[in-house]
């Protein structure tokens, strides 16, 4: 069985400040990890993914995440956020050959204030 826990439901930050959105996982199989972003009233889109190799993964819009096996974490970071980064962010473990059975976290709402 696999599960994903997003430790913060709401993260408010000021523009140009750094941000970290936390995600912990548990999985009994090889770990792939995804971060999706959902802008208001839109579907989700892939931000970045870890499949194997380097534990530091770079994604779109200046985001990056680090896979930490010992701490079972995959935290998302950005050194300087913009107003346009305001969105909901979901950590997910894909569902094997059935991607739709991915396990999603409950989401973290990032609000960037001017």
């Amino acid at each position: 069985a696999q599960s994903v826990t997003q430790l913060d439901s709401q993260v408010p930050v000021f523009e140009e400040a750094p941000v970290e959105l936390r995600c912990n996982y548990s999985s009994s199989v090889s770990v792939y990890l995804f971060w999706y972003v959902q802008y208001p009233n839109q579907g989700l889109q892939l931000l970045l993914k870890y499949l194997s190799g380097s534990t530091l993964v770079k994604g779109i819009n200046g985001f990056e995440a680090e896979f930490n096996k010992s701490q079972t974490s995959f935290h998302l970071r950005k050194p300087s956020v913009h107003i346009s980064d305001t969105a909901e962010y979901f950590c997910a473990v894909p569902g094997g050959t059935n991607a739709g059975k991915s396990t999603f976290g409950d989401g973290t709402t990032l609000t960037v204030k001017p």
């Binding site: 792939y32 999706y36 579907g43 989700l44 894909p94 059935n98 991607a99 739709g100 059975k101 999603f104």
Partner: protein, 113 residues
Amino acid sequence: SQTIHQWPATLVQPVGSPLSLECTVEGTSNPNLYWYRQAAGRGLQLLFYSVGIGQISSEVPQNLSASRPQDRQFILSSKKLLLSDSGFYLCAWSGGSWGEKLFFGSGTQLSVL
């Protein structure tokens, strides 16, 4: 390139009325198709998935049904809507390989009044 279309974007329906939400995918063949519901302030709940025409798997018992009449068409329906059916409905597709990502439609905001 692949695209996914979902409509309508918003829908307000009275309790007891029928529902039909449609989703189509372009630029790929034999996709896996999914319907999710996202309640306000909560994560995603997988409702149905389909790995081929006429093949529907339901994840949770509910007032909704799904159909896949064509390879790239996925329909979410209800005969009589309940207040609890309100939410944001998302269609998505993926390939069939291990660890693939999901491609989401833009969603339908359904309000049942």
